[in-house]
Symmetry: C2
């Protein structure tokens, strides 16, 4: 009645060879005479044998699974990355253990701990802040880690991203150029380096080059959600902003709808540039101009980088920066 498993031992017996030989053919070891290989394969087929990956993992100390910590699969930005990660993982015969963290430090630490207990061969971390507790867990195990779609100022772990400074600088520049005097910046928490350091820096640089004074009241910290965007538009109007750079597409759609709902014309009376170029940017009317981060590729490259690290290959540069563009659509003039 129990899931009667047939083991490598059964196959060995039936095929009149040793377990070692069976193991060899299963693992594609060339040191097997074609004839015996054929015989073994035949028995495997007949018995419908399937290697037990757990046992294999224990013996070989490799699980061929990697842990992926994601803030929220439900957010297109992250799910797009995740898709790239999974596809490349599959390509390299890895599986993904996916865990949502809501960027909640406690959850992150807890999930990281169980992932490590499960002996994942590597980790991909999405999330914009590497707290000390997370860093501690990382270094405590020697498991390779890659950050996808974010950046670690200390460059202690691998990371795949774009040049956030340059991207936001360029976006700000365009908005300034088209005549906006007051361009707002709406990102997530400024305690996250990607926002507080990089994006903000790009924003300030653009202002400076245009000789526009920096005004802190134009900086907004928000959740990456549609609701937050909807609520934000009013505040944006209040401070006299005529354009905004949003750090998240859902947030941007919220801002757009907030404007539309008040009868404000986009882009005529208000311009928006968003940051992630997810599918969402094409679904609105007008469509959203966006920084074009190659999301899928960021995930894919991150996973590829991780495979190299797991494979102990030589890594030229563990921080890889992909190219970006500003994709002009209807939300800007």
């Amino acid at each position: 009645m129990e899931k009667q498993t047939i083991t490598i031992y059964d196959v060995a017996r039936e095929a009149n060879v040793s377990m070692a030989t069976v193991s060899r053919v299963v693992n594609g070891n060339p040191n097997v005479k074609p004839a015996t290989r054929k015989k073994v394969l035949e028995v495997i087929e007949r018995l419908d044998y399937r290697p037990n990956a757990v046992a294999r993992g224990l013996a070989s100390k490799k699980t061929t699974t990697v842990g992926v910590i994601i803030p929220d699969v439900t957010n297109m930005f992250f799910s797009s990355l995740a898709r790239g990660i999974d596809d490349v993982a599959t390509m390299y015969k890895y599986n993904i253990i996916l865990a949502n963290s809501d960027e909640n430090n406690q959850k992150e630490v807890s999930v990281l701990s169980t992932l490590l207990a499960k002996q994942v061969d590597g980790l991909i971390f999405m999330g914009h802040e590497l707290t000390d507790s997370i860093r501690a867990e990382f270094s405590r195990s020697k498991t390779p880690v890659v950050l996808a779609g974010s950046i670690d100022p200390d460059e202690q772990v691998g990371s795949v991203n774009i040049d956030y400074v340059a991207a936001v600088e360029e976006a700000t520049h365009q908005l300034l150029e088209s005549g906006n005097k007051r361009v707002a910046l709406a990102t997530g928490s400024l305690t996250h380096p990607i926002n507080g350091q990089f994006r903000l820096k790009g924003y300030k640089q653009a202002l400076e080059k245009a000789s526009v004074a920096y005004d802190e009241s134009l900086i907004f910290e928000n959740e990456p959600s549609y609701q937050a965007g909807l609520a934000l538009f009013g505040k944006l109007q209040k401070v006299g902003a005529t354009a905004v750079i949003a750090g998240d597409d859902e947030l941007a759609v919220g801002i757009l709808d907030g404007a539309l709902d008040k009868g404000v014309k986009v882009p005529d009376d208000f311009e928006i540039i968003t940051s992630n170029n997810t599918k969402l940017t094409e679904m609105t009317r007008p469509q959203l101009t966006s920084i074009d981060q190659p999301l899928y590729d960021i995930g894919a490259v991150a996973m590829r980088l991780l495979t190299k690290m797991m494979n102990k290959e030589e890594i030229e540069e563990k921080t890889v920066m992909l190219g970006f563009d500003i994709l002009k659509r209807g939300s800007t003039k």
Copy 2:
């Protein structure tokens, strides 16, 4: 230099007890004297010991991980389900191995096979068709399976869904009621039972009750994508449809934008009811009227059901049907 792991054996030695005792305290077995428990816990803390889940899995034949086969994480419908699944899984100390299948039979079979090899304790399958090869894999292993957000006409495996027949019947009814003579139905492949059997049936029943003749030219098979929707609107116009029921929200948004782009007024000149009530339905202008499937809950309940099955608890009913509503928004009169 190697990831020097400390094992249960080290803890046992340091604490002057046997491995068995350590195992007991780690697993919360009550048969341990408080004093020794305390001592062991202390050593565990000091040595920073973390049980190896792989070894545990081999010995106990339980991995506390479940496999989740998802067509595409990038689609809000599925990612919403996935979120519900993961949250409940976490609650019950399970982890999720997530694998994208694109509803491609070959990928499904292949991934299912590796999931089974990894000894997952259970499986959640999202996808609208249980092909024979999938069924074969399912029954070949005795691993519990639950379908989330779809339905198996044969009810061989567990499933959590809503009453698709009633939902589409109601939606069709409303559209007919508001004066539409030609209501189209745009779903995924009709070979999928959820479409070809259930949704179509609800559609036909509504027509019948309203004494409207069934016209096959009003039935459309589409990919669940924005692009497909965009392209579809033209065809909808061509067959003289004035309203549509879409089986997927991205598809619906595409149809909406297709209409808007041609200057067709929604809902005045064209009405739309979509099926999944994902976040997307709120993001458009007008917002989309939708069948309100409790996506997160479907995922959550599916996972909960699976935990019961893995736990060999008595299951009253392995097909659970959740309630639904029609959420009226701006895309209908």
